[in-house]
């Protein structure tokens, strides 16, 4: 009997390890022959720990499981039975390309990875020239999934064309945005996808060395990625002769040190070099002068992890999904105060309302939704009146929002929007690298100005708008430049909360 219990952090955080021990103990007590496999998560976090049992070749789900459910799960008679996992509405509605294997395979089994389509992309790329690889990525329409949405193929072309003795692939795995966990999920659930994507990038641009800059807040992902790199090296997926192609690519996992701003690519590069994670002015572009001053591709985890499927299925097959200039799939992360939170991969274009109300099933508290922060701490708070907005880069931009890394944090009507605006400024003040004045000083003044508004000084509202304009126009990077998004969206959509009336009345 084959049983799967996720080893993903979110499943562990909800008790998956205890459930695994209970299943093993109960099976032993009953003298049953069971094999327990620790898989990634399917992304239905509200059902975690989601135990799966193979019945007649089909995987049936049980969740959210507790240790006491072990007897029922093993006998097949459990109140937590959900039926075949693939038939669940949440699974059927998705287009899982990047996350096809996550939750399905044992993350560290290279054999299972290959059996589910893994390495097909790298094998194809190994027979192509660097330029052909770059062209394939361009044709797919893939854009940076880290937030900026820059066309990945164009970035690769710049590095490809740069002349240098050494070039690098750097994966930005500093997923610090609240409401986002797609990077963590794929690194814990299907690490070879990222490794394969980085190897293809290396062959494409002529880089022989790669680094994953992984945040220290993700100890489980660090362990899985490190082990996966060892396995890949041993199997010659990495090394001097990638899959017998005669071309070299190897990589290392590097751990961050708790600075949010290091998710910005130039800070990340400084940090990787062992310096303070201070932002660099651009130009020069990292593509030309990146890590150690050499040509460097810096891509987000999901961008790189999507490359293998593009090469496996072909660029056109990938580009056939999507909306406008947002091609392929988006990995939505539904979080915060939501009844059914998790990861949902679908073609670009789904509306915000459908995600929150249908997929997420409204708030966890059962109260009305007040706002959804889309795109992390630097993304706008969108009110329910914007629920028709389709999720695409340009489409959300037109609504004054930011798709970013596609994290959605839901708030119910008890949320205090002035307080959320204050938090955005406070966070920016704590995490500012200090290089540019609008961010370093602006964020501190922003907190003070919002405190004045809270104390009843309505005259400070125009000052706040003006300050936000300065930060937006004058900051070097997205931290200072985008903090105005949450602040101004809260002010614009919920002006009644910025009159100071509530506090003044108390």
């Amino acid at each position: 009997m084959k049983i799967w219990v996720p080893i993903d952090s979110a499943a562990k955080a909800l008790g998956a390890d205890a459930v695994t021990r209970a299943l093993a103990a109960e099976a032993e007590a009953q003298g049953m022959d069971v094999e327990i496999i620790r898989n990634g998560t399917r992304g239905m976090i509200w059902l975690e720990p989601l135990v799966e049992v193979e019945i007649d070749g089909v995987r049936h789900g049980y969740g959210p499981a507790e240790p006491g459910d072990a007897v029922g799960i093993l006998s097949g008679d459990s109140a937590k039975a959900l039926g075949p996992v693939e038939d669940l509405d949440w699974m059927k509605r998705q287009t899982r390309l990047t996350f096809a294997r996550v939750g399905v395979i044992d993350p560290l089994s290279l054999a299972e990875y290959e059996a589910h389509g893994g390495l097909a992309g790298l094998r194809r790329a190994a027979a192509m020239s660097g330029q052909q690889i770059v062209d394939e990525v361009k044709e797919s329409g893939l854009r940076g999934r880290g937030g900026a949405g820059f066309p990945t193929g164009i970035k690769w072309q710049t590095v490809h064309d740069a002349e240098a003795a050494q070039k690098y692939i750097v994966c930005n795995a500093d997923e610090g945005d609240s409401g986002t966990f797609a990077d963590r999920m794929i690194m814990e659930g299907d690490p070879f996808t990222l490794i394969e994507g980085m190897a293809i990038a290396g062959l494409g641009v002529g880089a022989t060395k790669g680094y994953v800059y992984l945040r220290s807040e993700y100890p489980d992902a660090i362990r899985v990625m490190r082990r996966a790199v060892e396995i890949a090296r041993h199997a010659r997926v990495l090394g001097a002769d990638v899959l017998g192609s005669g071309r070299a690519f190897d990589m290392e996992i590097r751990v961050g040190a708790g600075a949010y701003v290091c998710g910005e690519e130039t800070s990340l590069l400084n940090s990787l070099e062992g310096k303070r994670g201070v932002v660099r002015a651009k130009p020069p572009l990292p593509a030309l002068e990146g890590f150690l001053g050499r040509p460097t591709v810096v891509n987000n985890v999901i961008s790189l992890a999507t490359v293998p499927v593009i090469f496996e299925k072909g660029a056109q097959a990938y580009a056939d999904f999507g909306l406008g200039r947002s091609r392929g799939t988006v990995t939505l992360q539904i979080a915060g105060n939501v009844a059914r939170g998790g990861l949902f991969e679908t073609a670009f274009g789904i509306s915000l309302g459908e995600v929150v109300n249908e997929l997420g099933d409204g708030t966890a508290t059962g109260r009305p939704v007040k706002a959804v922060q889309v795109g992390g701490p630097l993304g706008a708070y969108l009110p329910v009146s914007k629920f028709d907005a389709p999720l695409g880069y340009e489409e959300l931009d037109a609504e004054g929002g930011l798709l970013g890394h596609a994290g959605l944090v839901v708030f119910d009507d008890s949320a205090d929007m002035l307080k959320m605006a204050r938090f955005a400024m406070e966070f920016c003040a704590v995490e500012s690298c200090g290089k540019c004045t609008p961010c370093r000083i602006g964020a501190v003044r922003g907190v003070e100005t919002i405190d004045r508004i809270a104390a009843g000084d309505a005259g400070a509202v125009p000052l706040l708008s003006d300050l936000c304009e300065t930060m937006k126009e004058g900051s070097l990077c997205a931290l200072g430049g985008f903090t105005p998004f949450p602040v101004m969206s809260a002010l614009t959509h919920f002006p009644d909360e910025f009159t100071g009336q509530k506090e003044a009345a108390e």
Binding site: W46, G256, G277, P377
Partner: protein, 158 residues
Amino acid sequence: MASDMSAASLEELRQIIDAHLHLEGPLLPMLHGIQEAFGHIPAEAHAPIAEALNISRAELHGVISFYHDFREKPAGRHVLKICRAEACQAVGGEALAEATLSKLGLDWHGTTKNGAVTVEPVYCLGLCACAPAAMMDDRVVGRVDTARMDEMLTEAGA
């Protein structure tokens, strides 16, 4: 400089520094290695690191002080990180953090008198769909309420 470090510790420190010198951009891995071994970055480490990497001690201090992770003094026996980010705030994370700190009589970064637990803020553990989230050492916990928090603190001996 007067040193509280034993000769054995200084030797271990040397070995950690040497083991990282072949890396491109060795400083962060080196500091992580030292903190893993000693629980903090001891002042005695500054001069040998600066010398090995040919950087000034001011530059080194700049790096150590830039990152939230590196400590100048050891933490308690356990480190409890409570998430302060938006997704956790949306489901009562702030109240949970306040209740925990006030119960322990601590501010952020404080350590309980018996040295058992240091409480630190963290901005996102990637557990945003099962918030509020916390992490005791390397162990993550989701949907934390005060009862669950009390359990974790008792286990940690706070």
